[in-house]
């Protein structure tokens, strides 16, 4: 059913995306996660422009139109700013206001943009596919990469760093990104636990 919906609505050319277009489907939910006040259930459609709110103790997992999987940890707020997927490529922008997001981004043909915007800066896909975390804090953002490669760019200075697999870094509002370093497995496991959803 949802595959049909994606085929009809989701796989639109990505330039000039309109709002109220299906971007993904809820495939896992714990707690009272909401979309503009509407409580989300497994199987619900998430539209472009929707703002998803995950309460303390909750979790949310989405299967996106390009088969990517986006998971949100407790106390997270994310807006699907744009989600364009089509034969000509992919153009995705998610805004993470607070909390932790895990994005397991698939490979697509053609040019691909997959960005997570935060107040401090933007984390963007720098490889064909990636599995990565973004943690938005009041004055900083933290990025850890399990697979693939991610660029983190400061909104204030425009300086960026590339983060390879198994590495991570931090960006404080108004400053350059910190030079990346290897993350210990326990650091990855901690955020993996946060974004895990029991099906």
């Amino acid at each position: 059913m949802f595959g049909v919906l994606f085929a009809v609505f989701g796989l639109t050319p990505w330039p000039g995306q309109a709002t109220a277009m299906p971007a993904g489907t809820v495939i896992g939910v714990n707690g009272s996660c909401t979309d503009h006040g509407r409580v989300l259930n497994r199987g619900d459609i998430v539209q472009i422009g929707d703002t998803l709110n995950v309460p303390a103790g909750g979790n949310l997992k989405l299967q996106m139109a390009d088969r990517s999987v986006v998971s949100l940890a407790p106390d997270s707020i994310m807006t699907v700013t744009s989600y364009g997927v089509g034969g000509s490529g992919r153009d995705v922008r998610l805004s993470l206001t607070q909390g932790v997001l895990r994005a397991n981004v698939t490979s697509v043909g053609g040019p691909s943009t997959f960005e997570v915007l935060t107040a401090a800066g933007t984390a963007s896909l720098a490889s064909e596919s990636a599995d990565w975390f973004v943690k938005a804090q009041p004055v900083a953002v933290q990025v850890g990469v399990l697979a693939g490669s991610i660029d983190l760019t400061s909104a204030a200075t425009g300086q960026s760093v590339s983060i390879p697999a198994h590495w991570g870094t931090r960006l404080e509002t108004g400053l350059d990104p910190v030079l990346p370093r290897i993350w210990a497995q326990k650091e990855f496991n901690a955020v993996t636990n946060l974004t895990g959803v029991e099906h």
Binding site: Q159, V161, H166, D176, L179, A184, Q185, G196
Partner: protein, 304 residues
């Protein structure tokens, strides 16, 4: 590279009373230097740049090449050394070192060195780490071979957790080791420290300052290495040495790092003139993160 620096010093300091064995002793003491390991490492948001004459403060997956030259009493000496460091676990690593020395007396291979190093304390929030290590120099380039074993400790401490404003980019690293020689040779105590001011840390943790692109990756560093003989002298005079190495490290976090420093001997025993040392570090864990050369051999369990 610290090996090389130490060798510079030790060769100069080795003014033995017994000339017939001076060459042997010079080479033997040269082998007493701790195994160099000068790649990068990090503790929290603190990225410690590669040391040039002091050891690496923690194990890593990296390959680096050192090139140094320095005037000596009997002419100049030029060293080229290649180091390979491999993580066995996230905290435990091994390192091997080999190189070539060009001297007025001829070209020869340097001693082959191995090191086992364990990062026993890593406090990310306090930008502090502490490692223990044991190195062994096989001394095969000397005749007869002059092996030495060196247990040592290293540490690194960034000051970013302190409320000191623009001094927060400061960091120090330290090293202390005891070189135990085999046979009738003198043991040597070595200690050293570095003081560094990280511009990348300044721009990413302290303030948004408009600087030219090159300066954004620079870390001025001054290293100091001290050696002194310990215990039985075997009828020889071996002087204390002190080498100072002011220089810079350069890294933009893209998988490589460059360092260059002057080598300033502060005593006659340390050297006769100012030398220079340069180092290129290839961060294999950054450039080949999914390969066996870029990841620890044994890793903790990964969650799905």
């Amino acid at each position: 590279m610290r090996n090389k620096a130490t060798r510079h010093q030790n060769r100069r300091k080795g003014r033995f009373r017994c000339c017939s064995i001076s060459s042997f002793l010079t080479l033997a003491i040269a082998g007493l230097s701790p195994t160099a390991s000068n790649a990068y490492t990090a503790a929290g948001d603190r990225n410690f740049p590669a040391n040039l004459i002091l050891p690496q403060i923690a194990p890593t997956d990296a390959l680096w090449v050192d090139f140094s030259t320095q005037p000596m009493t009997n002419g100049g000496q030029t060293l080229l050394t290649v180091n390979y460091s491999k993580l066995l676990t996230e905290r435990l690593g091994i390192q091997i070192e080999e190189g070539i020395a060009w001297k007025p007396s001829g070209t020869r291979a340097q001693n082959f060195n191995m090191l086992l190093q364990d990062e026993v304390i890593l406090d990310q929030s306090r930008e502090f780490l502490f490692s223990v290590q044991v190195g062994h120099s096989f001394g095969a380039s000397t005749s007869p071979p002059s092996p030495v074993t060196t247990p040592a400790v290293t540490f690194g401490k960034g000051l970013g957790d302190l409320p000191i404003g623009y001094w927060r980019p400061l960091a120090i690293t330290g090293y202390a080791g005891y070189q135990a020689a085999e046979g009738a040779r003198t043991d040597v105590f070595q200690a050293g420290m570095s003081v560094q001011y990280s511009i990348p840390y300044l721009l990413s943790k302290v303030g948004n300052i408009d600087l030219p692109p090159f300066l954004r990756g620079v870390t001025p560093v001054t290293e100091v290495l001290f050696t002194t003989p310990i215990g039985h002298a075997y009828g020889r005079i071996i002087d204390t040495t002190l080498l100072v190495a002011p220089g810079i490290g350069y890294s933009r976090g893209r998988g490589w790092e460059l360092g260059i420093s002057a080598l300033i001997p502060t005593t006659k025993a340390t050297g006769t003139g100012i030398g220079v040392i340069a180092q290129l570090v290839i961060q294999l864990d950054y450039l080949l993160p999914d390969s066996v050369v870029g990841r620890p051999v044994f890793r903790p369990t990964e969650l799905p």
